[in-house]
C-alpha cells in the first residue's frame, strides 16, 4: 500500500508542513490516529466532520486534520462547538482538549456541555500535566507528584474526569489509554456514533515534563506503566477498593439513550411556530 492510500495519510492535510509540534514519543499522535481510524470506519465524509480544539499540546491536533477545523481559545472549545453544532446539526463535531484545557479553565463548559447532552464528541487527552507551558500541575496531576509549580509535591486531589461527565449528564463515557490504541479506536468510533454528549478520556503521558520531573523514565517506560497500571472495567470490579483506586480503569463507563439537545430544540421550534402569537411581525411589536 502506498503512503497516499493508507487511510491515516488521506485524512492528514498535505498542505500543512510537517513535522508536528509534539515531542517524539508523545501519545497525542496515537489519539490522532485513533480519531482518524474511527472516522474512517464510520465512513464519514470529510466535509461532514468538524474538529474543534482548545489550547495546549492536544489542542494543536486540529490543524493537521483535513476536516473543518477550528483551533479556539484555552478551555472554550466546547462552547464554540456548541454554537457550531446548533448552527449545523448535520456536522459531526469532535472536540479535542487536554486535561488542563477541558477541566481547569474549561471545567464549567465541560459540565454544561454534558448537562445539555448536546451531540458533541469530546476527547480529553489526559497527560496529567500542562505540557506546552513546561510542566505545571493540572487538575488531574496525581497527589504527591511533582510539577514545576508543585516542587514539594502536589497537594490537590486529581479530578475524576469520567465521573464528572457521568454526573453532569453525558450519554456516553469511556476511558482507555494510548497504549491500548485498538480499544481507543473503538471507543472514539462509538462516541462519534452516539447521539448525545460523549466523552472519551484518552490517558496519555508526558515524558518530557511530568516524566522527567518525577523520574519516570522514557516515553517507552511511561507507555509500559500505562499497560501495567491499567485494568479493564470487568477486572477492576474484582479488585479490592484500595487496589482499584491506584489503577486506571479502562472501559465504557456509561452508555445511555436520552434526548439530545439539538433534537429537543427542533421541538422548541415546532412549538414556537404553532404558538398563538407566532405570526406577529417585527413592525407589530409593542409600542
Amino acid at each position: 500500500m502506498s503512503r497516499e492510500e493508507h487511510s491515516a495519510y488521506s485524512y492528514l492535510r498535505q498542505t500543512k508542513k510537517f513535522p508536528n509540534v509534539w515531542c517524539s514519543g508523545c501519545g497525542i499522535g496515537i489519539v490522532m490516529g485513533a480519531l482518524i481510524r474511527a472516522v474512517d470506519r464510520l465512513e464519514l465524509e470529510k466535509n461532514e466532520v468538524a474538529v474543534v480544539s482548545g489550547i495546549g499540546c492536544a489542542g494543536r491536533m486540529s490543524v493537521y486534520l483535513d476536516f473543518n477545523t477550528m483551533h479556539t481559545t484555552h478551555g472554550r472549545a466546547l462552547a464554540f462547538a456548541t454554537g457550531l453544532k446548533i448552527a449545523q446539526p448535520k456536522l459531526k463535531v469532535i472536540v479535542v482538549m487536554g486535561d488542563g484545557d477541558a477541566l481547569a479553565i474549561g471545567g464549567n463548559h465541560f459540565i454544561h456541555a454534558a448537562r445539555r447532552n448536546i451531540d458533541l464528541t469530546a476527547i480529553v487527552v489526559n497527560n496529567e500535566i500542562y505540557g506546552m507551558t513546561g510542566g505545571q500541575y493540572s487538575p488531574t496531576t496525581p497527589l504527591n507528584s511533582r510539577a514545576t509549580t508543585a516542587p514539594y509535591g502536589n497537594i490537590e486531589q486529581p479530578l475524576p474526569t469520567c465521573d464528572l461527565a457521568i454526573a453532569a449528564g453525558a450519554s456516553y463515557v469511556a476511558r482507555s489509554t494510548v497504549y491500548h490504541s485498538v480499544e481507543l479506536d473503538r471507543y472514539i468510533e462509538q462516541a462519534i456514533r452516539k447521539n448525545g454528549f460523549s466523552l472519551v478520556e484518552a490517558v496519555s503521558y508526558c515524558h518530557t515534563t511530568f516524566g522527567r520531573i518525577n523520574k519516570l523514565g522514557s516515553a517507552v517506560d511511561m507507555m509500559r506503566q500505562l499497560k501495567d497500571n491499567s485494568v479493564s472495567r470487568s477486572a477492576a470490579e474484582k479488585l479490592a477498593p484500595e487496589e482499584r483506586a491506584s489503577k486506571i480503569v479502562r472501559g465504557v463507563l456509561c452508555d445511555l439513550d436520552k434526548p439530545e439537545y439539538t433534537a429537543l430544540y427542533q421541538q422548541v421550534i415546532e412549538r414556537a411556530k404553532t404558538a398563538p402569537d407566532s405570526q406577529r411581525r417585527v413592525g407589530g411589536g409593542r409600542q
Binding site: 492535510r13 498542505t15 500543512k16 508542513k17 470529510k46 466535509n47 461532514e48 468538524a50 474543534v52 486540529s62 490543524v63 483535513d66 476536516f67 473543518n68 477545523t69 477550528m70 483551533h71 479556539t72 481559545t73 472554550r76 462552547a79 464554540f80 462547538a81 456548541t82 454554537g83 457550531l84 453544532k85 446548533i86 448552527a87 449545523q88 448535520k90 456536522l91 464549567n108 463548559h109 459540565i111 454544561h112 430544540y265 422548541v268 421550534i269 412549538r271 414556537a272 411556530k273 404558538a275 407566532s278 411581525r281 417585527v282 413592525g283 411589536g285 409593542r286 409600542q287
Partner: protein, 368 residues
C-alpha cells in the same frame, strides 16, 4: 417600546438567526425577547453558562453560517473580551451588545454609565480594529442594530453596539420599518473551487470571502497568527500583511463606517460633542442656550469606534470650545482632545449612576 426591545427587533430584521447569552441587568430583555421570537422563524437561542461561552457559541454559530448576536452589560462585557479578540483575529462576523451600567465590578446594575467606551476599543489584548456604534433613541437602537449586523458581515469583524441603560430601558414611541424594507448585507461567499480557497487570502476589498463550515470548504481557523490558508505562522512576511490588511479593511471604509449627526456646527463657536443617552441632555441644553442667543452646535457620534477624527478636526478649525459630556470621568474626551487639542476641550462628567443633566451642559456652554 423599549430600547432593548428595539434591539431584538432590529436583530431579527437584520437576519439574526442565533443568539447566545447569559442573563444580566440591564440587557436581559433582549435575551428574553429573542428566546421567544427566534424559534418562530427557525432561529436558535441558547442560554450559556457564562458570557465567555456566550460569545464563543456565537462565533461557532457564525462559522456555521448563522448571523449571531449576544448581549450583556459591563461585568459580562469584561468576560467577553477574550472572544472579541478571537473574532477579530479569525475575522468571524458577530454582534456584541453592551448595555453599559455603572462600574467598575458589580457597580450598580440599574444605573446608567458610559464607562465601557475605552474597554470597547482596547478591552481585548493586542492591536486590532473594532467598530462600536451607540444609539441615542429607541428607533435608533433598531437602526444601528441592523447597521451593526451589516458592518459585521461586510467587513468580517466583531461589531459592538454600545448602549447605556438610559436608552436601553427608555420607553418611547417608535415606528419600526417593515422587516422586508430593511437593507440586509450578507457575507461575501467564495466562488472558487474548494482546492483553491484561501480563507485569509488577498482580495480587492481586503475582506476575503468567507466559507461556512459544512459548505464543502474544509479549512482551518485559529486564533494564532495565520497565513492566507489559515495555518499558524511565525513568519514576518505573513504576520505583517495580516496586521496591515485587517486594519486597512476598516480604515479604507471609514466614510461608510463613521456616522455622525451635525446640528448647527457650521458657524458655532461652541460645539457639544455627545453620544448615547447623553445626547438627550445635550440636545436640551443646546436648545436652551440657543434661546439665550448663544451660537452653539451639536455633534452626535453614532459611531464611537473608529473615532470620527475628520469631523472633529474640521470642527476644531472654527470652534473655540468643544464640550464633551459623558457618563464617565472622560473617556471619549481623550480622543477629542487628541484631535482638537486639550485647550479647546471642556469635559462635563458624571460617574455616579446619574445622567449628565442639561443644566450641567448649559453651564459649560455658558462658561460657568
Amino acid at each position: 417600546m423599549q430600547g432593548n426591545e428595539a434591539i431584538a427587533w432590529g436583530a431579527l430584521a437584520a437576519g439574526c438567526m442565533f443568539y447566545a447569552g447569559y442573563p444580566i441587568t440591564p440587557s436581559t430583555e433582549i435575551a428574553e425577547m429573542l428566546s421567544r421570537e427566534l424559534p418562530k422563524i427557525g432561529g436558535k437561542f441558547i442560554q450559556m453558562e457564562d458570557e465567555i461561552a456566550s460569545l464563543a457559541a456565537c462565533i461557532g454559530a457564525s462559522v456555521g453560517g448563522l448571523k449571531a448576536m449576544t448581549a450583556t452589560s459591563g461585568p459580562g462585557f469584561s468576560l467577553m473580551q477574550e472572544h472579541i479578540g478571537y473574532a477579530a483575529m479569525t475575522e468571524v462576523p458577530c454582534v456584541v451588545v453592551d448595555v453599559q451600567r455603572l462600574g467598575p465590578s458589580t457597580g450598580q446594575a440599574t444605573s446608567p454609565s458610559q464607562g465601557d467606551v475605552m474597554q470597547a476599543r482596547w478591552g481585548t489584548h493586542g492591536d486590532h480594529p473594532i467598530i462600536a456604534l451607540s444609539p441615542t433613541s429607541v428607533r435608533q437602537s433598531f437602526d444601528l442594530t441592523v447597521t451593526a449586523f451589516n458592518f459585521s458581515e461586510r467587513y468580517r469583524t466583531p461589531v459592538i453596539l454600545l448602549l447605556d441603560e438610559v436608552v436601553a430601558h427608555m420607553r418611547e414611541k417608535a415606528d419600526l420599518p417593515e422587516p422586508d424594507s430593511v437593507e440586509r448585507v450578507e457575507r461575501v461567499a467564495t466562488s472558487v473551487p474548494p482546492e483553491w480557497y484561501k480563507p485569509y487570502g488577498d482580495s480587492r476589498s481586503d475582506v476575503p470571502p468567507m466559507a461556512n463550515f459544512g459548505a464543502g470548504y474544509r479549512y482551518h481557523i485559529t486564533g494564532m497568527f495565520h497565513d492566507p490558508a489559515g495555518y499558524p505562522t511565525q513568519r514576518l512576511d505573513e504576520i505583517d500583511p495580516w496586521v496591515e490588511r485587517v486594519h486597512r479593511k476598516i480604515e479604507r471604509n471609514i466614510h461608510d463606517i463613521v456616522m455622525v449627526e451635525e446640528d448647527g456646527t457650521g458657524s458655532a463657536r461652541t460645539v457639544v460633542v455627545a453620544y448615547g443617552g447623553t445626547v438627550r441632555s445635550a440636545r436640551h441644553a443646546v436648545k436652551l442656550a440657543r434661546q439665550r442667543r448663544c451660537k452653539v452646535g451639536l455633534v452626535t457620534l453614532l459611531t464611537i469606534w473608529p473615532f470620527a477624527e475628520d469631523v472633529i478636526a474640521r470642527i476644531a478649525r472654527t470652534a473655540k470650545r468643544i464640550i464633551v459630556p459623558e457618563m464617565n470621568l472622560g473617556q471619549l474626551a481623550l480622543e477629542v482632545e487628541r484631535i482638537a487639542g486639550r485647550h479647546k476641550v471642556v469635559r462635563v462628567n458624571r460617574a455616579n449612576g446619574h445622567m449628565v443633566t442639561p443644566q450641567m451642559i448649559l453651564d459649560a456652554i455658558e462658561g460657568k
